[in-house]
């Protein structure tokens, strides 16, 4: 009996010791000069790292129309994502992402910098995994868990009333671009309780929806996530086809910044769309 107790105490002591060692290891590895050259990495860094750890963020980080964390990014040095700038910032961790210039990443790696490339998350499982991975690497695993919990809670409230058939909706960007299977947009739409027209038509991540198809399929909602882009473009200039405004559908404009990255705030896009779905049913 005594022996057993002793053993248990021993095991507990080892476990305790191990956690301390792990904690120390993490603290030691905790990057102190993080440089991000990617819009999505900027926002994750702001949410998961301590401010003192951040050396620089990409020039898009403070753009209100593209970055959900634009406010938090104010006051932090910005960069244009060239290797030269990054080297001058003496980073101990460089965060890049999908569509970052390959040449920049390769030259930074060749110079011996630790570069982490974020993949594009196209569904909420990816997003959870990415948040936790980054939180661990940035040395704040707890912040990651909190963020995931917050996201999951928002997702849950959005889908409490999904039962039976889902209303048909389509992502419809100016010029008829749409998003089907394997895209973040589709995951957001489906998580909000809709059926995605592009998926029904077996389209991949990027597809094209001719107006004709839209008129025959008669979705009850068209989702545009570019509508609030303040920069000039044809779509804003009234070149859209008049039929679009007269269809049997409602058109929803969801802020662009909620879609540009697969992140915890993607759940906010789900929430907004779910609210629209409820108003449709009435």
């Amino acid at each position: 009996m005594e022996n057993r107790g002793g053993l248990a105490a021993f095991v507990l002591a080892i476990m305790f010791f191990q956690t301390i060692v792990e904690k120390l290891a993490i603290a030691e590895e905790m990057p102190q000069r993080i440089v991000s050259i990617h819009l999505c990495a900027d926002q994750f860094t702001l949410a998961l790292a301590n401010r003192a750890q951040i050396a620089s963020l990409s020039y898009l980080a403070t753009d209100e129309s593209r970055s959900y964390m634009a406010n938090a990014a104010k006051g932090i040095q910005l960069n244009n994502g060239t290797a030269e700038e990054v080297v001058a910032l003496r980073p101990d961790l460089v965060l890049a992402g999908f569509m970052s210039a390959r040449a920049t990443i390769e030259s930074l790696q060749a110079l011996g910098y630790r570069v982490l490339e974020l993949a594009l998350s196209t569904n909420f499982d990816d997003i959870r995994a990415q948040i936790q991975l980054l939180a661990d690497i940035l040395g704040n695993p707890k912040k990651g868990k909190t963020l995931i919990a917050k996201m999951d809670q928002q997702l849950e409230t959005a889908v409490t009333d999904i039962y039976g058939s889902r209303p048909l909706a389509a992502i419809y960007q100016p010029m008829g671009f749409t998003s089907g299977r394997g895209s973040l947009e589709s995951s957001i739409l489906i998580s909000a309780g809709f059926e995605n027209l592009a998926v029904r038509l077996k389209m991949g991540a990027l597809g094209h929806l001719p107006l004709e198809t839209l008129i025959s399929a008669r979705p009850s909602l068209l989702v545009n996530w570019m509508g609030d882009d303040p920069h000039p473009s044809l779509s804003r200039a009234g070149y859209a086809h008049p039929v679009l405004a007269k269809g049997p559908w409602q058109i929803a404009f969801i802020p662009n910044k909620l879609w540009s990255c697969g992140a915890w705030y993607s759940a906010l896009a789900v929430k907004q769309l779910a609210a629209i779905r409820r108003s449709l049913k009435k």
Binding site: Q173, P174, M175, G176, M203, G204, L206, G207, H208, P210, L211, E212, T213, I215, S216, R218, M226, D229, H231, P232, S233, L234, S235, R236, A237, G238, Y239, H241, P242, V243
Partner: protein, 335 residues
């Protein structure tokens, strides 16, 4: 003899007009949704708010009308340029008129001028085309060799494309950049009657200006001195035709984007049928261009599944090898 020529011309016009009509009707049946003959007919004669009526009247009809008008413009402009420059390789795309129009239009997109007035796009297209053609005349001169002409065209095109690329490069919205890029590929997908109303009048004015020069063009083929002695004022003719080309091509390109090589292929195919007379080539090239672009736009719809193949991409895929073939023929001295 004259009577026979007239008869042949009449047959040619009738044949081409029938072809355009046939293709026009066919085009009304082509699209992602299958509509029966009855449905299309019902939609045309008694339009209501049913999906099939909307599809036929507001999507397929404007698209087909624009294909016909843009094709006619490009065919006619090609024949006019070839007559005026007395060069079988002249074409709005090759001499830089289309790139000039495209530049004008992309600057409008880039600076957001289209939001001020919907007319900004066609007007900028016309100004761009006009500057490009004027520059061609300055660079190549009147009696330029085919090679000098094409080199000047390449220079103008490249410069206009470089400036367009700069606009894409500096575009403040990724979406605007994407829009310009895709628009440059040329397409008539999902155009509306608004676009028809926007571009048709200008194209009409351009056609009248070009067609009114038909007789003078035929006389010009006898040589500039002969033409002058027969009372053709070369400068007036040049100004009239260049204005006509710029106005029509500028308006067309601003709605459809760049659709290349139509003005090269059509006059070349039709030239033997009109006895190699430049003036008589104009009217038939107008109809021929119309037929070619409607046919290409039908092909685009039949070929596209998922992501749309752009009309300009299709005409260039056919046109570029054709251009090479013409160049080889030219080197052998067979045209």
């Amino acid at each position: 003899m004259i009577r026979k020529t007239h008869q042949k011309t009449f047959t040619l016009y009738t044949g081409l007009a029938l072809l355009v009509g046939l293709l026009f009707i066919t085009s009304m049946f082509i699209g992602p949704s299958t509509l029966s003959i009855n449905a299309v007919w019902a939609a045309l004669v008694a339009p209501d708010q049913s999906p099939s009526a909307i599809i036929v009247n507001q999507i397929r009809l404007p698209r087909t009308i624009l294909a016909a008008l843009v094709g006619a413009t490009l065919g006619l402009a090609g024949a006019t340029l070839q007559g005026l420059l007395r060069n079988p390789l002249a074409e709005p795309g090759i001499i830089g008129a289309s790139s000039g129009a495209a530049l004008g239009a992309s600057l409008v997109l880039y600076f957001g001028l289209a939001e001020i007035s919907i007319l900004a796009l066609p007007i900028a297209g016309m100004i761009g085309a006009l500057i490009a053609v004027a520059m061609l005349f300055l660079l190549a001169g009147r009696n330029a060799s085919p090679l000098a002409l094409i080199l000047s065209g390449v220079a103008i095109s490249s410069f206009a494309s470089a400036l367009t690329a700069l606009a894409i490069n500096l575009a403040s919205s990724a979406y605007a950049a994407l829009e310009i890029t895709f628009w440059l590929m040329g397409s008539l997908t999902d155009r509306s009657m608004t676009h028809v109303a926007l571009a048709a009048p200008a194209m009409g004015v351009g056609w009248v200006l070009m067609l009114s020069g038909a007789r003078s063009l035929s006389i010009l083929s006898l040589g500039e001195d002969t033409a002058s002695s027969l009372g053709v004022s070369l400068n007036t003719l040049r100004v009239r035709l260049v204005l006509g080309i710029a106005i029509a091509v500028g308006a067309a390109v601003s709605i459809s984007g760049a659709i290349g090589f139509v003005g090269l292929i059509v006059p070349h195919i039709l030239r033997p049928f009109v006895g190699f007379e430049p003036g008589r080539l104009l009217g038939v090239s107008l109809l021929g261009g119309s037929a070619l672009v409607i046919a290409a736009d039908i092909a685009v719809r039949l070929l596209s599944t998922g992501i749309e193949i752009r009309l300009g991409v299709v005409t260039s895929l056919i046109g570029a090898p054709f251009f090479l073939f013409l160049l080889l023929k030219l080197r052998r001295g067979t045209i």
